[in-house]
Symmetry: C2
Subunit: 335 residues, 2 copies
């Protein structure tokens, strides 16, 4: 495998394509539902089915805390989890640049295997295209997930209610900060790793604690700030954010300070924003703190009836300010 | 919309992304199952579910007979149809190059809308990424389809039986020939259009005629020749091909003659290879000839017990020859 690269023939649908599929993808993705044909034959979910698709074109494809393969599983698994859906099946489509190192592709597939196993999801079908040099930058992965929506829990961005507590499941902005530092040469030497993680186990633990939940949302593109604005708009409520309570790693805070960035707008890939009636909040946080990816869970604010569509921030010295609206190009692209 | 182009902000997850989704994608894809959230909530198929994913990176994105949007729906719908599955739901992920003309994107979305409607499939969820100039060539589309496998029909590449008739649903090689002529400047002026078409209606008509079917396969990458070799291998049978019976448009034949290409290895995007017991063949062909995309359906050979794994061709003058094995880089990339 070493020193080998992906060639156009690997994407041409002939013998080399079969070899690539056998040696890299089947070797890592093997499970009872994986098909060798163009379509997988599956037992559909009982009850309602959640379906989500996401494209991953992050550059660089390898970063501290993960790679594009891990990210491509987490992103889609987490979108399903946020609907209260147990992830069952995933498809993955690869677009690979001619000359991409086979070893790197294998590392990506291995990360996908590990993450899919942890999330309890089966990769069932795939597709591989090889694009000419310069036609694509490295490797793109597109995953589509199918999940089984659990009975008794209905969550959605339009269901936030005044009086809800707002919980974040851990320190924010790490994925965005990591990619930023990898992409640009700022001369900053900070020890930041991506928070990229599959969160179905976390959501399940919370749902096992209480069914009295209103919103579960992963704070990816645009970060927690963008998610709060979206929910404020969808639910026509105001949001009072206790800025001092938002967990941010000192390293991330430091990088943001130097670069003039707002951590609230930096992407996470392993953090949820949860809104639930105040009386449930302590039990939810207690549960979260026992889960592997949410030891730093915290209540960061509440939903209010005033200021509909807006996010009002209490600063550390007690003054109130409107969190600026997200918009324009949110740097860097993080997935 | 005119003169506008896609910008990085359209992919950043903020306000411009919402505008792009509303004005282009929602405007064309609206249906009762389309979600504005990260995941769609759907009624799962009854019985077994077929799932297929496919990436489309064809260059040029517009070609006589279709564009990448039409192709992205046909490709996945046809993969489901070949499993005997009625297409129900589709997701689509876009990777768009910064600077891509908005008008072109809209033309692509319009083609997807039209083709999805014809195939009776709902687009339920999507994703949009914008890549920097040079990071991607124009636009890539990845579709994933979910279908309901119809009761009473089991087809598969491993189910071909000696004595089966081999039917092709129309003239072959048009999609591959079209893309080839668009990509390379051979100085050939031939009137060839892609055969790109959604084939669920065709498969349904055949299944309504008889349930006694063994193989249904769409002859995409690698063309009919590659499909025949694949099935010969999977079913461990030989295939006797009556070369003179294979329908090929005179224009395609002409281009192949000039360029030294074998039409059997040129891709189709709207043609099926069907294998079924000989006694069913005439009824199947009769049905096919009444369907919109298979007026030229023909019996082109039979499955034999001899020569397992091989495709033996009878030439027009009666001699027998082995069809050369497909392999290596099959030019041009057609999807």
């Amino acid at each position: 495998m070493e020193n080998k690269t992906v060639t156009m023939a690997h994407g041409a649908g002939g013998k080399q394509t079969s070899e690539l599929i056998d040696q890299v993808f089947k070797a890592h993705f093997a499970n009872s539902d994986l098909t060798a044909d163009d379509a997988a034959v599956l037992v559909p979910p009982a009850g309602r089915m959640a379906v989500s698709t996401d494209g991953f074109i992050v550059s660089p494809a390898f970063f501290p805390g993960g790679n594009i393969g891990k990210l491509s599983i987490c992103g889609t698994v987490n979108d399903l989890a946020c609907m209260g859906a147990k992830p069952l099946y995933l498809t993955c489509a690869f677009v690979i640049e001619e000359g991409f190192p086979m070893e790197k592709l294998e590392e990506i597939a291995a990360a996908m295997e590990k993450t899919a196993k942890e999330a309890g999801v089966h990769i069932v079908s795939g597709d591989t295209k090889v694009a000419g040099k310069g036609q694509v930058d490295g490797v793109f992965i597109i995953t589509t997930g199918m999940g089984e929506i659990q009975e008794g829990v209905t969550v959605g961005g339009e269901l936030a209610k005044p009086g809800d507590a707002i919980i974040v499941t851990g320190d924010i902005g790490r994925h965005g900060c990591t990619i930023l530092l990898e992409r640009e040469d700022f001369g900053i030497d900070a020890d930041v790793t991506s928070d990229c993680a599959p969160l179905w186990g976390t959501v399940k633990a919370v749902m096992d604690t209480t069914h009295n939940l209103h919103v579960i949302r992963d704070a990816t593109r645009g970060g927690v700030g963008t998610v709060l604005y979206e929910i404020a708009g969808q639910s026509n409520v105001g949001i009072r954010l206790n800025a001092a309570a938002v967990p941010v790693q000192p390293e991330v805070k430091g990088v943001c300070g130097m670069l003039g960035l707002e951590p609230l707008y930096l992407a996470c890939e392993g953090r949820l924003v949860i809104m639930a009636p105040k009386e449930e909040a302590d039990a939810i946080v207690e549960t979260l703190r026992k889960c592997p990816y949410s030891a730093d869970a915290a209540i960061i604010g509440e939903v209010i009836a005033d200021e509909p569509g807006r996010v009002v921030m209490e600063t550390e010295i007690g003054t109130q300010a409107l969190l600026p609206q997200p918009g324009g190009e949110l740097l860097p692209r993080i997935c």
